[in-house]
């Protein structure tokens, strides 16, 4: 029998790694990928909890999360391409005309 606590700790680790990536990747696609990690961490949690409570809603929630993640990725990439078209870069720290 696997330990739910360990799964949750694992999810927390993935979450932290994702955060770290989102904070440090210069490439916007890299940031996007890091955010996917965060979503996955949340999903792991949801599924683990569903397992814990013997409840279906967690699993269903996770399914919906995957669906919205797809939608978000589509939108994100579309925006990214629009930016790339304008700025010819995908490096987040180059895109800082709006400030102060």
């Amino acid at each position: 029998m696997i330990s739910i606590t360990h799964v949750m700790l694992f999810s927390a680790l993935i979450f932290a790694i994702g955060l770290y990536g989102a904070l440090t990747r210069r490439n916007a696609i890299g940031i996007l990928m890091s955010i996917e990690l965060i979503l996955n961490a949340a999903n792991i949690n949801l599924v683990a909890m569903a397992r814990l409570w013997g409840d279906k809603s967690g699993i269903l929630f996770a399914v919906f999360v995957i669906g919205t993640a797809a939608a978000a990725t589509i939108v994100g990439l579309a925006i990214l391409i629009a930016v790339y078209r304008n700025a010819k870069t995908v490096y987040a720290d180059r895109i800082n005309l709006l400030r102060w």
């Binding site: 932290a16 990747r25 990928m33 599924v47 399914v63 669906g67 797809a70 939608a71």
Partner: protein, 182 residues
Amino acid sequence: MIANLVKQILDLKIPEWFISLSVFYFILAATAIAALMVVTLKNVFHSAVALAVTLIGVAAVYLYLNSEFLAIMQILLYVGAILTLIIFAVMLTAKLSDRNIMQANEQKLASFLLTGALFAILAIAIVKMKIGEPAAGGTVALNELGRSFFTDYVLPFEFISLVLLAALIGAVALAFREKGDE
């Protein structure tokens, strides 16, 4: 002597749970390492590959959590669709020069410390939650899940279709603009 020892070792009855657990922890470790690679590798393309590994690892965790349905969805949607999109985008925006420039910004240390602290807080909280054993037989039948989409979860289902539709319309509007404009 040595052969005997080897034989003895080979004959050792390893409990199934042990194998299962070992594999489980191996998967966790591998997934975590892959995740780390996602956020640290210099080449974005390599990162995307590492992300694929991570996602598959997560799918494996779902299996361990008795959620075959979700594991399948993970592979199909995440790896099949989302990751493909990302890789497309990577290739679309990639430049040769990118290989050699820094992929991480200057706030690495601060980020590391802060995420570390957050992880610590999370870990403490999780440990303090003192989660017991999962409910027995806590698996949800696949068909029950399927039915849920059209009964209890019909409204979320409608909503996510709206979300996808909106995303689609938006993405199309954003992507197709060049034709008319230039």
